[in-house]
Symmetry: C2
Subunit: 348 residues, 2 copies
DNA sequence: GTGAAAGCGCTAACAC
DNA sequence: GTGTTAGCGCTTTCAC
């Protein structure tokens, strides 16, 4: 580890000059040629600043605290972490991740993160919902990921659930489906209601009547299977929009029992949480993937723009990255989800 | 943030005395009553040490670098992170997680972690394999998670793949299955070979002949489905051991096409990667879950025991935690995987 | 323009 | 036994 002192000695200047130069604060303070010498020497010696020492002085660390629940129990939401981590790396930050679903309570974890001097917090939930942000976070910049929050005090980023339902339904309509079923979740969770609204809106916009008999909101296991069977027998759907891949399963099994094939006899679009389908039946399944990676990435960019008091639109993002989606008036950003076209929709 | 200096002033002693007392190094150096006073004052003022300042001095940080690939693309392996994070929290450590599957290369990430002064590294892979540890890590304690490494220089923790195959097959045998099929993966990955060995060994120990016609090693999609169908038609199995849940899927679909039910007509034990099955068809499926959480937890305990040069068996683990599994001679620890009994095995 | 000096909060060698 | 002192590597104020 080469230090500034060593560079100072080698170059024959003082540490303060080195610090000035290496931090780009030498404008009109240090002569250009000596600045050059310092930079050259630093490069030659492979100088890298010691973040600990810098943090002790400046009390900012370029570390972000990522607080999550249920990383354990939700498939693929881990992509939020990956997205956040990559954004952080691109912008010169590190992520310390704590999960609050374990033996250690959220409060203790937050206190520990504060002691380590994190510059801000990402508060992530593993399924989209309304949540309350712990009061202890309010001393720092916070961005909420995959959730929203009632007070409007914090920025948040979550998937646009309405357009998920709308796009899926519209896609089935465009394929010529006349009787599109909605296989939902029996829990009254946020995503459920909004996707269902999108389904209804798409039907309405296409001039199709909404038929309650085509809707079934199921839990799981045999009971769910029976509900789906019952709906199919009564309402004869030719297309299905499924809340998630667990619900798609019941349709696949019902098709198999009838000797029918998804993508040949029935159309199906489903939200893909687990990706066992992608792995197993692809390219048979047309799916919508939740934008976990994007949410993590953008939330981190936004948080850092808060931390550094800069306008997110001026942030230099890597060329490969899409521009930050615009903020709504209430601080909420909804991310549109892509529909991945495969073969499980047949033209009727 | 109260500092040692403030405590020293309030108590009327020097900072060094405070430091000694608060670090438990006052044995025979500071009088008991004054030590008491210091402790009381510290408590009253809600003193918490500043880890940055301490680290700058001691050059250890109580931060562990967690290096992983493919957190993005592997379901549930995120549990390794959760386990590691909880173990770290229990032992007073923090985890900085970097993923090497993104735009930033492993080398840069490792350099950054070193600058932040991590005390050691967890080098995790998201599926079990033989891997090479980057040379730059050798300056620090390292534990390998969910992988092994050819040189034998590092400790590693991975699932016992052999017993997965053995236990699953034995369980099916005990239920009376006479013709147990093995639905494997067509890739020659480590887990594949060992689970297959376990399957063969269990058959042999039970005195059943190994029948090649009951084995099919499939990739995915229609081709995989066709192979499974072909095997079933030719060899008439009454029980199935499936390499993972993607492969279980094909058996479920084949059963549905015949109007048969898993758990009534056919027995099935599968390794459960995605848990869409657990969510969807439980309690119909008898599964083996990979011990991701445990691997993360134990790897972290072991790493910390290296860092602090203590015998892992003397570590005070939380009462809820199982004891650390023993180390093999080559530094490898294999974790036995539990078989979760449900209803997808029928007594023949 | 440049350097000396103070100090972020803590630890540890060394006086007394 | 306890306090004084000297840093860890860096930033920043203030003389010169």
């Amino acid at each position: 580890m080469t230090t500034m002192k060593e560079i100072a000695v080698k170059t024959g200047v003082s540490v303060s000059t080195v610090s000035l130069v290496l931090n780009g604060r030498d404008k009109g303070r240090v002569k250009a040629d000596i600045a050059q010498k310092v930079k050259a020497q630093a490069k030659a010696m492979g100088y890298r600043p010691n973040p600990l020492a810098r943090s002790l002085r400046t009390s900012h660390t370029r570390i972000i605290g990522f607080i999550s629940e249920e990383v354990a129990t939700t498939p693929y939401a881990g992509n939020i972490i990956v997205g956040a981590q990559e954004a952080a790396a691109n912008l010169g930050y590190m992520l310390i991740i704590v999960s609050a679903d374990g033996s250690y309570e959220e409060g203790k974890q937050i206190a520990a993160l504060k002691r380590y001097g994190v510059d801000g917090f990402l508060y992530a939930k593993m399924y989209n919902r309304v949540t309350n942000v712990p009061a202890t976070l309010s001393s720092h910049p916070v961005v909420i990921v995959n959730a929203s929050e009632p007070t409007g005090r914090y920025s948040s980023i979550s998937p646009n659930e309405f357009t998920i339902g709308y796009d899926a339904t519209q896609y089935l309509l465009a394929a010529g489906c006349q009787r599109i079923a909605y296989i939902g979740d029996s829990e009254p969770i946020l995503a459920q209601g909004k996707r269902f609204n999108g389904y209804q809106a798409a039907l309405k916009d296409a001039g199709q009547a909404f038929r309650p008999e085509l809707v079934t909101q199921v839990s799981r296991n045999q009971e769910a299977m029976d509900s789906v069977e019952h709906m199919i027998q009564g309402a004869h759907p030719d297309g299905f929009f499924c809340f998630n891949d667990s619900r798609s399963w019941y349709v696949y099994e019902a098709a198999a029992r009838r000797g029918l094939h998804i993508g040949q006899d029935w159309s199906l679009v489903g939200v893909d949480n687990h990706r066992v389908f992608a792995e197993t039946v692809a390219p048979r399944l047309t799916t919508i993937e939740l934008p976990h990676y994007e949410m993590g990435y953008w939330a981190t960019c936004k948080l850092i723009s808060h931390i550094e008091h800069i306008d997110p639109s001026t942030m230099t993002l890597p060329a490969t990255t899409a521009p930050l989606p615009p903020l709504q008036a209430d601080g909420t950003t909804l991310i549109h989800c892509q529909l991945l076209e495969k073969e499980s929709v047949v033209n009727h």
